[in-house]
């Protein structure tokens, strides 16, 4: 299996788009809610795909999943790994809420303006 652990020599990238953010809704916060809903949908899809893989693997091995899952307890190590994963999960969904701050930090001096809105 590929090693996806954090590479000590990796250089952090900037994930936020710099400059002016696009807004479409008049009511405050709706644009952010759209972004959060899309993040949620994406993360739900990740879970669905992983679950489908899990069920498929389990079936191949003859494991009856519902009973086994119900009675399962995570080890301390697994719980810690899930907790760490959860932080990333939350951060991805609520990405839009840190975006404004990050964009401000990477503010261009002279962003070429889009044409005036008609």
């Amino acid at each position: 299996m590929a090693d996806h652990s954090v590479n000590p020599e990796s250089t952090p990238l900037r994930y936020s788009v710099k400059g002016k953010r696009m807004r479409f809704f008049g009511a405050q916060g709706v644009d952010e809610l759209v972004a959060i809903c899309m993040g949620l949908a994406q993360e739900m899809w990740v879970i669905k795909e992983r679950q489908a893989a899990l069920e498929s693997v389990a079936a191949e091995k003859g494991v009856v999943l519902p009973d086994d899952v119900e009675g399962h307890t995570f080890t301390d190590e697994q719980s810690a790994a899930l907790d760490a994963e959860k932080q990333g999960f939350i951060d991805r969904i609520f990405f839009t809420l840190r975006e404004e701050a990050e964009s401000l930090a990477a503010e261009p001096e002279e962003e070429p303006p889009a044409p005036s809105l008609p």
Binding site: T11, L13, Y15, K18, E43, V46
Partner: protein, 398 residues
Amino acid sequence: MTESIDHDLKVSHTKDEASRQGFVAGMRGYVLNNLSGHMKTVWDRKVEPAFEKANGRLPEDGPEVHKTFKPETIFKFYSAMRCNTQEMVWRSVMPAVEREGADLSRRAQVLSQAGDKAEGTVETNPNFQVPRYVSELDVHMMPGNYHEERIDYDVTQGAVFDNGLSVFSFGLLGDRMEDITESVSTFFQARYPDEQPKKILDLGCTLGHSTLPWKARYPDAEIHGVDVGGPCVRYAHARAQSYGVTAHFHQVDAEHTDFEDESFDVVYSCMFLHEVPLKNIKGVFKEAHRLLKPGGVMLHYELPPNSMTSPYDGFYLDWDSYYNKEPFYKAFRDADAKAEIEEAGFKKDSFFEHVAPSRNLYGTDALMDAARQDGAKNDSRVGRFGDGVMWYFFGARK
């Protein structure tokens, strides 16, 4: 969703990252096919009839469609979801690139120095000044754009763009994501069989997707690509070496290259001009004219001009100029390319324009059939990223 990257700079995404990418690609398909279809229906059945009733006429151009449509809920959701999907494209691929950045740089150097499969070269300039219209933007919302560098022999932004493009194009660009130039160069060769270019230049080449297909059409030709992004030309060269295609890449501004006068037979660009301000496009045309041998051909793959599209399609294609960090796109689509080209010194009345069916979607026979027909026909599929896309290109002769 990064299956179309099969060269030696491929990065390894986790299962969850791959799921995220699959979701984004699916969302793009949904937004650009389904949601955009719903939006057109709302326009046709509700908004345009209401406009006509109120004004006694139809909207006359894209901006009028835009202004009329802007308050509609469907427009707001389409726009907000397109913006979010666009941002999610890059974010879905960045973790793997971030993890492997230093290793990518090493791999790129090894590929660039290896001469066993190809003998291309790459030239970067540590003192190069990236034009401000590039350095001040995250073009199409790609954090870091084409040029930002953080480490030695940095290819990171090339990798972000390559992997992101693979998610972005959801299969529309075919194997190696070279469909546009595969289609355009195949069309060009069929349409102009007497052309036997010995030297071809690709302006704003980024990762070489638009550069390498020319070598397949004209194996004896010397192929060059230029771009302002150092990470892009390094990545392009390593990618070409990995594929065993000899091509030469240079970090220079397309307006001010250091090639000799009259040294190229074909000067080409793909998806480049719409990211350049009009005054600099004029400079690019002049530079292309300087570089071409007498009788040489300049051609550009681009979005079709507003003069060729309906008001609704004009609005639809210009959306990116307002909302996708591509601010120069509309001015380019509004411009009269023929007049600009003639002003740059190209032969009067040598202007041509064509629509090439996507080879990936329609096959080579359809492409050959189209090459036998004259002119570029107005069709809402032209330049519109979605099912059935066709590619528009134009050019002129020195």
